[in-house]
């Protein structure tokens, strides 16, 4: 198990008390019904296409994952060794649920699946990701995305 409550004493408290980005307010917008929304996934699992550049420490950059990338071509180069990878070894959807998203679209629960999805490597100071986020937002607009699902590990 890699659960926060099972981290060793000391480390667990440091982890839980880690400084987080502070925001003055929580932006909150309403949108179309879920059944009309086109959804994109943003993972922080350090995922990318096989052969794409591996993630490095503290770079804040991202990789693009096309909607129809075969499961076997999705790999992980997250720098941390403190989370479970056995689940992802057996089934990528446990961390990056692209196939589940397609099923929800086929069932009419959501309107559609974006053409492109994204991954960061989460062990990065959040401020370093900010330029990338602006870039992704622009790409999502072009992709007609109106819902983003952030998937941590």
């Amino acid at each position: 198990m890699v659960r926060v409550d099972e981290f060793p004493d000391g480390f667990r408290e440091d982890y839980l008390n880690r400084e987080m980005p502070a925001f003055d307010e929580s932006p909150f917008v309403l949108g179309p019904p879920l059944a009309e929304r086109r959804v994109s996934l943003i993972s922080t699992a350090g995922l990318h296409r096989k052969g794409d550049r591996p993630f490095t420490e503290e770079s804040g950059d991202f990789r693009v994952i096309p909607k129809d990338l075969p499961d076997e071509d999705l790999v992980m180069t997250h720098v941390s060794s403190n989370f479970d990878r056995i689940g992802f070894m057996k089934d990528a959807d446990v961390a990056f649920p692209i196939n589940r998203l397609k099923e929800l679209a086929a069932d009419g629960v959501i309107g559609g699946v974006a053409d492109y999805h994204y991954s960061f490597m989460g062990a990065t100071e959040p401020g370093k990701m900010e330029p990338s986020v602006a870039e992704i937002a622009a790409a999502m607009k072009a992709d007609k995305v109106d819902a983003a699902m952030l998937c941590p590990v």
Partner: protein, 232 residues
């Protein structure tokens, strides 16, 4: 999605669903599509909430319970291979030999894992797993050994070699059906394999180098926090 409620409470995103699953498994459990779909649909449904911020708790644990060795109805994971017996190369003199011997014993199980999973996580170094062993062995003898790839930083190449070998061991070790937790497999890998012992040695070497990035990696990246008691 939130896996650490305390962090989400501080960040206050507009809509979040907290799930008490293992880190690394935000949608619960592998090969459980119905459960994964339920988690995903519940998180997406928050988009229709008219007011926020919203932080909901997903009510259930993953299928199969927490699947730990301490659970009543789970006998726990056991390694399919016994590394003992036969002629064991000296890890000090011949780390590559000791690791290759284990990898050969694991090979049939790695093959089964490839078949069952339809993929492998090993291969991110881009040089093949044999050469990963070569590099780490050469590094142990002389840390100034030039990395086999120069298009990425040395620490990055080093870590990818470590990750490829770990993926090979972990995939082989979990090829048999049945639940296996990261902690169980890690206890075996870091505590009872020649590769684990070799990694602890590499970690020790990195911790004494002038290179601050490798030193930092030895502190935080190579050995999981639940195995830090094994460090020198």
């Amino acid at each position: 999605m939130s896996l650490v409620r305390e962090h989400t409470e501080k960040i206050r995103p507009p809509r979040a669903l907290w799930c008490g699953f293992e880190l690394g498994r935000p949608f619960g459990a592998p090969n459980e599509p119905d459960f994964q779909r339920r988690v995903l649909a519940e998180a997406l449904a928050l988009l229709e909430r008219p007011e926020g911020p919203v932080l909901d708790d997903f009510p259930d644990g993953p299928p199969g319970g927490s699947a730990g060795a301490g659970d009543e109805d789970n006998e726990g994971w056991t390694c399919p291979v016994n590394f003992g017996g036969g002629e064991e190369p000296d890890l000090e003199k011949d780390p590559a030999g000791a690791v290759r011997r284990e990898m050969a014993l694991l090979r049939p199980w790695y093959g089964l894992a490839l078949e069952n999973n339809g993929k492998t996580m090993a291969g991110v170094s881009g040089i093949g797993i044999e050469r990963c062993v070569d590099y780490l062995s050469a590094f142990a003898l002389d840390p100034d050994t030039p990395p086999f790839r120069t298009d990425i930083p040395r620490y990055n190449f080093f870590k990818l070699c470590v990750d490829d070998i770990k993926a090979y061991y972990f995939e082989a070790a979990t090829a048999r059906p049945g639940p296996a937790t990261d902690k169980e497999v890690a206890d075996w890998y870091y505590g009872r394999s020649a590769m684990g012992e070799f990694l602890l040695k590499l970690n020790d070497i990195c911790s004494k180098l002038d290179d601050p990035v490798l030193r930092k990696m030895s502190d935080r990246r190579l050995i999981p926090v639940h195995q830090h008691h094994l460090k020198a």
